[in-house]
């Protein structure tokens, strides 16, 4: 009987496979293909145009001997660390506040979320301006009589990265808050009741019970923040262009500048390969724990 013939493996789910072609294409050609292309070319001396004259690890040697790259990495580490910590902390606290059955919840939520609608360019521009010592916060405080007040994060190399952080948080915490809020709302209300009956103070319930329960939510949030952090470029360009000096350089800008300004594709590729590598170093163990762990139950 024809019907009983076992269909070929490839033919099962055919529509699904066809429908997934764009994804497969993107995954293989764009992400894998382009990544491989990038990695390969990071071993060449490509300048303006990609070429295949291999120079071994020369690009990497130069990369790691570059002061600017080191500063970029440091900045990314600082920015990334604080961005994650503060986004999660602020996002969570805000969500917890909004979750107190308060009035005007949707108004507050909209206020906290709207910056997310604005691009980094715009964010950078506004904050550059607010933080400008000549007519921003500093001048306002001074005009109130506090003559010695000094607040010029964007012009002080030691703290410029925090100036960028302020803007980054302003733009990004709204979304995190939303995710956290959704997470809080998904927690069984009986847990709250149980902890009240147990006589546990609210803050302690949050810290000891609710936060651990929201692990998946935190992970989703973390992934979102992390993708943003690795790519932070627009914000820096809009706020400081990496300055003062090279105090606020970030890896993505290093990549961009070398590829397009210095016309040294090889160097840009080496830098981006390093970025990818560090992402992979963080991501792969995590994915292993996360997905490998599920099977064990």
């Amino acid at each position: 009987m024809a019907a009983s013939a076992r269909p070929h493996r490839l033919m099962r789910n055919l529509s699904a496979k066809i429908a997934s072609l764009p994804m497969i294409f993107t995954a293989l050609v764009i992400f894998i293909g382009c990544t491989a292309w990038t990695v390969v070319h990071s071993f060449t001396s490509s300048r303006l145009l990609p070429r295949t004259d291999f120079v071994g690890l020369a690009q990497y040697e130069r990369l790691w001997s570059s002061n600017r790259w080191i500063v970029s990495i440091e900045n990314l580490a600082i920015f990334g660390f604080f961005m994650m910590v503060f986004s999660l902390a602020i996002g969570f606290v805000l969500a917890a506040l909004l979750d107190q059955k308060i009035r005007f919840e949707s108004a507050f939520r909209t206020i906290l979320l709207y910056p997310f609608a604005l691009s980094f360019i715009v964010t950078g521009l506004v904050w550059q301006w607010i933080l400008n010592p000549e007519f921003g916060v500093q001048s306002m405080v001074r005009s109130l009589g506090w003559e010695s007040f000094s607040f010029d994060p964007l012009y002080n190399p030691d703290i410029v990265i925090y100036g960028i952080l302020i803007a980054g948080l302003w733009q990004g915490t709204g979304l995190i808050m939303c995710i956290m809020l959704a997470g809080l709302r998904s927690i069984d209300e009986d847990i709250w009741k149980a902890s009240r009956v147990d006589g546990i103070p609210t803050w302690k319930t949050y810290v000891m019970i609710i936060i651990p329960m929201m692990r998946p939510v935190f992970i989703t949030a973390l992934v979102l923040i992390a993708t943003g952090i690795v790519k932070v470029y627009d914000l820096v360009v809009a706020q400081t262009s990496g300055g003062p000096g090279i105090a606020s350089e970030v890896p993505a800008k290093y990549v961009y500048d070398h590829m397009f300004r210095s016309q040294n594709l090889g160097q840009g590729f080496a830098a981006s390969t390093m970025m990818l590598l560090s992402v992979a170093v963080v991501l792969i163990p995590w994915a292993y724990l996360e997905f490998g762990g599920k099977k064990r139950g």
Binding site: D190, I191, K193, R196, D198, G199
Partner: protein, 357 residues
């Protein structure tokens, strides 16, 4: 002595009044079951007792102390939830001791209490597992343990068994009953499962729409339901209701063109009533395959063997009647039979008021 007294309790959610002027006294050491259909306000009442909801009006006393405005943790109550509400990232031990630690109880005392509760509930071996690694029944026990360690006067249960499968449910039911016998605490238990209510309760409060319909011992509720609602709600399969009229000065019940004598009825003196309902439980009917003078003529519809016994479904004068028969008995659909009721166990209701006569 009253363990819990509720005085003129009123509770509204905005415009919706869920409980209105509710009064309830629960005796010390009593196992009281709140039974009723979904949405009737059982959980709401329990939450009011626990202090998890701010009441709108009235007073609540626990052990003669006015706790109306007390925090849940200071009312001397323990609570067990339908979803268990265990803290998932803590071990069983952590779950049990968390509340105590919070009261700054000495370590040794905590350990002793946890050990005792674990022993009572037979979960000693599970103390270092997380809730995720427990079966439904075990989780339920841990949830009870959490109330147990706090040495409370009153246990509140909100449908603690309804997430479990039938087998486990019946096992835990027995355990719970034993626990109550052993501890002697007051227990207030919410359920919509009548078997649980009947087996566990010292008294059952049947609720409907926020109002207590009947508060009495299970046998009374089962055998002498106060009204049609209670009668229909309790018993599975439900009590058979025959719509008809009380005639002959209360001595007979007219059902279709048949007349059922009411001699031996256990209730008030019956008066004639044009619109009455005769309630007969399936086990209070006997099937005769030969004509019986005063029996109710019926046609067999369906046969449901249930292992220990069987149910026979019949039709008579437009009504559907179920009869419980021994397991071996078989009746073929379409057979004509006569049903002989045990009137001493029957209930007659006034169809208009719904009250038992």
């Amino acid at each position: 002595m009253q363990s819990i007294s509720i005085r003129d309790l009123k509770l509204s959610f905005g415009a919706l009044t869920v409980l209105d002027t509710l009064n309830l006294d629960i005796r010390d050491g009593e196992f009281l079951v709140l039974l009723g259909p979904s949405g009737c306000g059982k959980s709401t009442l329990l939450n009011c007792i626990a202090g998890l909801l701010d009441i709108t009006e009235g007073q609540i006393f626990i052990k003669n102390r006015n706790v109306t405005w007390d925090e849940p943790s200071r009312r001397g109550i323990g609570m067990v939830f339908q979803s268990y509400a265990l803290y998932p990232q803590m071990t069983v031990r952590g779950n049990l001791s968390f509340g105590l630690k919070n009261q700054r109880m000495p370590r040794a005392e905590i350990d002793a209490r946890v050990a005792r509760a674990a022993e009572i509930l037979q979960i000693e071996a599970l103390l270092d597992r997380k809730p995720g690694a427990l079966s439904g029944g075990q989780r339920q026990r841990v949830a009870i343990g959490r109330a147990l360690v706090r040495d409370v006067d009153v246990f509140l249960f909100d449908e603690p068994l309804s997430n479990l499968d039938a087998k486990l449910r019946s096992e835990l039911r027995v355990e719970l009953k034993r626990l109550h016998n052993r501890l002697g605490n007051t227990m207030v238990y919410v359920t919509h499962d009548q078997i649980e209510a009947l087996t566990l309760a010292d008294r059952i409060a049947v609720m409907r729409g926020g109002v207590i319909q009947q508060l009495d011992a299970p046998q009374v509720i089962y055998n002498k339901p106060a009204n049609l609602f209670v009668a229909g709600f309790i018993g599975s399969p439900a009590m058979n209701f025959l719509n008809g009229a009380v005639v002959q000065g209360g001595r007979g019940f007219r059902f279709g063109d048949q007349l059922v004598p009411l001699a031996g009825y256990d209730g008030g003196r019956l008066l004639d009533c044009a619109d009455a309902v005769l309630g007969l439980r399936p086990e209070h009917l006997r099937i005769s395959t030969t004509p019986v003078a005063e029996g109710i003529n019926a046609i067999v519809d369906l046969d449901e063997p249930m292992g220990a016994d069987s149910l026979v479904w019949l039709r008579s004068a437009g009504a559907q009647i179920s009869v419980r028969v021994p397991a071996e008995t078989r009746h073929a659909p379409g057979d004509e039979v006569w049903l002989v009721p045990d009137i001493t166990k029957a209930s007659v209701f006034d169809a208009r008021s719904g009250q038992r006569m």
